[in-house]
Amino acid sequence: MHAVSIHLGVGMEKKEQTIKLKVRNIQKLYDDKIILKDISFDVMEGEFLAILGLSGCGKTTLLRILIGLEKQDKGSIYKDEKEISLLPPDQRGMGIVFQNYALFPNMTVLSNVEYALKRRKETKKTARDTALRVLEQLGMSEHLDKKPRQLSGGQQQRVAIARTLAMNPDIILLDEPISALDVTNREIMKRELKEIQKKFHTTMIFITHEQEEAFYLADRIMVMSEGTIEQLDTPDQIFRHPANSYVKEFVVAHLEQKYQSLLKCTGRLDNEPKRVE
Amino acid sequence: MEQYRNDELKKQLDEKFPQWDIQIMSMATAKAAAKINVEGSHTDADIVIDMECAYLERMKDNLENVEEFSRLEYLDGIGDPEGKYLIWDRQAGAIVVNQAVLDKYHLPVPKTYEDLLDPIYRNLIAMPDPKSSGTGYFFYKNLVNVWGEEKALEYFDALAVNVKQFTESGSGPIKLLVQQEVAIGLCLTFQAVDEKNNGNDFLILEPEFGSPYSLTGASIVKGKKDRAGVKEVFEFVVNDFCVYDKEYFSPGQVLTVQENKLENYPTDFSYADMTGIESVDEQERLLELWKY
């Protein structure tokens, strides 16, 4: 299984397992339709967690509830043992990067990043320095005076990430960070996200519907469907021991198929599909 | 009143009362009456001049008692016994013809009301709309008095075919005659005389049954008597200016002693039968029946 292991990117160093975020019994209804049934899970400090599922499974709603853009009907959220369930989004110590970046269209790259800092008394004086520092770390120092319209998708995303990082959050949420990019940029962005996480030691939670993304980037994956958690485990475990038929079908079988067609092209596999138990 | 009379009034008022800013607004009779009725003492006007008595009767509740202000002697039988308004004017009408236009179309001068129905005058006649103008109304009422309601209405049905426009204000037909847009107008005599003196080729004809007329009056709006200057201005207007106005502008007889200084004014016209001209109910009823 050697080749498979490499492809799956398994091999995460064990870190201290302090719990950063505790999510308990989150429930969300919308017009009598259950979006989130009874969600409970923990997020470890410094980990890269992927929430994987098809559209409509509730992952976006969950993300928004975590940061406080939407209110849960039932349940609570704790960060560092403190309850943050009812705090407004700007007071939870979290940041979010959207799929379409949502940069301020009339501000330069630099202004975009320092804007929120300038608005706050505490950070007003150091706003510019912080912004410059973060942008440099993301490799955007050459583009400080450009407007969003002049940037590529990947560059815009970096600015969006910088904007969030400048606020120094402990947790960063990302909404489909890879799907919107074209093929070359995907690889670049995947690597960059990994680097950012290492550099800034932030806990990162991202949602996606693409299995490869999840398997490549994440330390752990939470597979969701129809408002419930199907399995929350390391990629390795999910692949080897899928918890139920859904995970088997959606995750494992899909990856197998893709991998086999790839291997067939390179001629490294005979035509017999290998099944994983 | 007409623009030129208002201009003269303003000139004299500004001379006599430089300390007050006096504005003169001219409006079609029925409009002005309706406005005061609806707005009551909130209205912006303080004094009304030259409003048909029928309308003044209708809005008596919104007028002050003004008997005390007049120093003039009026003819017998005219005036308000309750003293709510003073007689201002006798507006008399005539059939006015623009000779130049008639010549252009080679048409004869009409003699009777019936003549006006002749198809050769198609779209060449103008008449004020009785619904908004006192002038229009008194032509209408006169024919009702002479022929009875039914025949009068039939007449106007036929006349309407030849009428180019029922103008909103009484001075409309005169202007149209001046612009040569129509050949014949049912107008106020003194306006026609004035324009004739200005050089227009008009013929002023006495209508078949005499010159129809209505009386107009002046008064102060209720609640405005004590405003600065209103009493003084009103007094000047109904005495000094009234006399001036009668002599130079509108010679219809209202005072016992009245000089006529307006050139070419036909003093030989007889007045038509205008019984019931001040009756408010009568007016309402007849206007209901008016379709144009």
């Binding site: 940041g95 269209p105 608005r119 407007k147 | 309706a34 912006d44 612009q179």
Partner: protein, 535 residues
Amino acid sequence: MKKRKWTAVRILIILFLLVSVVFPIAGVMAQISLNDVKKIMVSGQLGEMLFHSLVVTGISTFISVSLAFLLAWCLNRCNIRAKGVFSVLFTIPMLIPSVSHGTGLVLLFGDNGIITNLLAMCIPRFKVNLYGYFGMIFGWVLYSFPVAFLMLNDSFQYEDYTTYEAAQVLGLGKLEQFRTIMLPNLRKTLISTVFATFTLIFTDYGVPLVVGGKVMTLSLYMYREVVGLLDFSKGAIIGILLLILAIAAFVIDLRNEENANTSTVTRQYVVTQNRKRDVAAYVICCFTVVVIGLPIAAFAFLSVVKQYPIDLSFSLDNIYEAFGLGVGQYLENSLAMALGTAFVGVVVIYFTAYLTARSKKTWTTMTLHLISMISLAIPGIVLGLSYVLFFRSTFFYGTIAILILVNTVHFFASPYLMAYNSLNKFNRNLEDVSDTLGISRMHMLLDVYLPCTQKTIIEMFSYIFVNCMVTISAVSFLANFKDMPLALLIPRFDSQSLIEATAFIALVILAVNGIMKLAVFVLERHVKDPAEPNR
């Protein structure tokens, strides 16, 4: 929580709109006495007026929209130069009041008209039967086609060329292409345009007032009864009729929007070479410009000639007379009202659009949106009447404040849509971003939205200003001597047959609006789009 505050603000604005839109209209309905309804129906007048109104409006709408379509086609599907110039020229009739279109026609084609007299020299006994159907149709087409043109011109630019290419490959002829591709593509806009034009014409009283002759239309009747005789009950009945028709048109149009197919433009239309066609287009456009220019030339002519037709010497007497009649003062009134409404209007409308475009779609948001659009369906004269009845005993009846209020409401919908569409284009997640970064909505408004929508704001201002300068509908019931705007003098002077003064006034209004449009043009070029790179 911030959210609660914003809901409160939204409710406040809804209340404002209720008070300024819904309640007054309800008040109008309350005025109707059944007695009057009976009287009107019995006299048979109503049927006749309705008939005339519908027929003339129908014909005018057809001609107007066709003309606008033709012109839009000329500008977008032919190779002619100076397209920008032409499209600006075509909108000139919007800069003068509707009633001036009527007076212009009288000056040109009346029995004593300039053109009538000129042609009478060649053709004996030449006379145009202006008053009545002909005059109204001509006047209304002049009045309404610019609006139709703007709507159609815009949508021509969004046609996808690939369908035409496919048709060419299939061997479909030009006419067939027109029928099977162009008309369906533009169907949505065409229907909107037809309804908008119809409502515009149907509710106007200015044109029939001058050139209607003896034909009575519903809106003119309403004007006469209410403004002339202050018979509110009759006015209310007609008003409700007009309102019903306008709302019906509005609703049908709304339905039409829902069924629209939005196709994206893959390829811009490519205009083929065709000299003959281009020449024809030039001729049509130039001819239209000439026709637009004639009334204006007539106004100018009449203002500087002593007394047409008897004395043609050059003279400024008429202008002096006009000022003597108070034109200067009324111009000030108009400017005060137009500027006041433009400023107040832009603020209120922009803010309302901001609330509806950038908030979650709750019931308050949807109601706000609906009420904002409703003002499109309420004819000016009906609104004016309702205000007279509703605000009669309040303190601001009779002041300029009520004029500003009624105009803001009357002209609410279009600027609202401009702002709404602009604000809607921004990224959906910007509010989330500001929430998570701790940036207040107010700062977002000031630092992001306002700078990016400057052009839209300028357009809104200009739209409101120009319309206030030419409006004679709602204000005719509410203006009194102190604050009467210039445009309202035209019907008054016309009723006293002071024709030269009305011509001069039309010129003045045209000049003021022209200056405003020029200022806007210069300003727009000067204002940089902040989303564009700094040079």
